[in-house]
């Protein structure tokens, strides 16, 4: 489920709220440098699972979205993936 697929409408009535809701808890953001690039790490807990999102700072593009049983595990996965992607970035002489 999730994103509406191909513009197809959902069946049923126009009701809104359904099912269980949750909240992001222990939300934190911090900046780190990876291979010289500033990266923003946002992490939080949803239920029992920690989520982490890594973005490069200035352009703001998303690099990684990961989960873990601890914040450290989620962040490490995001940092690893971000490093993998950032290592491919070529810097040109201007």
């Amino acid at each position: 489920m999730g994103q509406l697929g191909g513009g197809a409408g959902r069946e049923g009535r126009g009701g809104h709220r359904a099912g269980v809701t949750m909240k992001a808890e222990e939300y934190q953001e911090r900046q780190v440098q990876i291979l010289g690039w500033p990266v923003n790490l946002a992490s939080y807990r949803l239920g029992e699972v920690f989520h982490c999102k890594a973005d490069n700072v200035s352009p703001g593009a998303a690099l990684a979205r990961t989960t873990g049983t601890t914040r450290e595990e989620a962040e490490k996965k995001a940092l690893d993936r971000a490093e993998q992607l950032l290592s491919r970035t070529r810097v040109h002489t201007v």
């Binding site: 509406l4 009701g15 099912g19 949750m22 703001g60 593009a61 970035t89």
Partner: protein, 287 residues
Amino acid sequence: MANYAHPETLVSTDWVAQHASDPNVRVVEVDVDTKAYDEGHVPGALGWAWNSQLCDTVRRDILPKAQFEELMASSGISNNTTVVIYGDNNNWFAAWALWQMKIYGHKDVRLMNGGRKKWLSEGRELSKDAPKVSRASYKATGPDNFLRAFLPQVQAALEGGTSSMVDVRSPQEFTGEILAPPGLPETCQRGGHIPGARNIPWGKACNDDGTFKSADELRSLYGAEGIDGSKPVIAYCRIGERSSHTWFVLKYLLGLDKVTNYDGSWTEWGNLVGAPVEKGAAATARA
């Protein structure tokens, strides 16, 4: 809100918490990362994928009118629905969706100030359920191409010096040191910027919590680079989504009349044979 020219185009997270289940309000999440919606979203919000539902998937273009009408109808949006859009990266693709809705004449579409980040950081309710919606009837107008710049218009503006161009990418993309945001694939043959463009990265319009800066701060930011409404403005970035964010700021928060989003952006210009390209930092802002 902060003396904006069109405060009706922006709502707070509080407002959304209070109105998300109003029958005439439809909340929609549009993210850069299309998996974010599934992780949890504003209860009752729909999710639109920018890369499949908000563009023509065959040729490079925005959503064709008939498909736009179908997306609205299947999302339970009628012409009179108040649509509130939000998303990650301080509303990048939320602004892209709003821009398209304005092109097709939707009257009441707003951004949730601060986007997904603010909603999360405030510890507000999230749901994993996609809402069930009743199909609506929708008739689009337009397209209003006064909101959009195509290549010939940009070329004419460059030759005639008739418009101010704002490049909203990062300084390193602007100078040509990198050809895409770090970590993303290079999607152009040449780096640099359109000659004469001013570099005002999109993120400078935002506070740390993702909300927009005040009108005075924004006026000062853009005014310092000569973007004051005295000339039409063309905003561009790499593929047109970051520039739709700046387009929103200039048009609705500062109220500049003639602002267009050049969605062809650098992936078009930087691949053109023979197009003039300037490298390095911009010259001092012109008066």
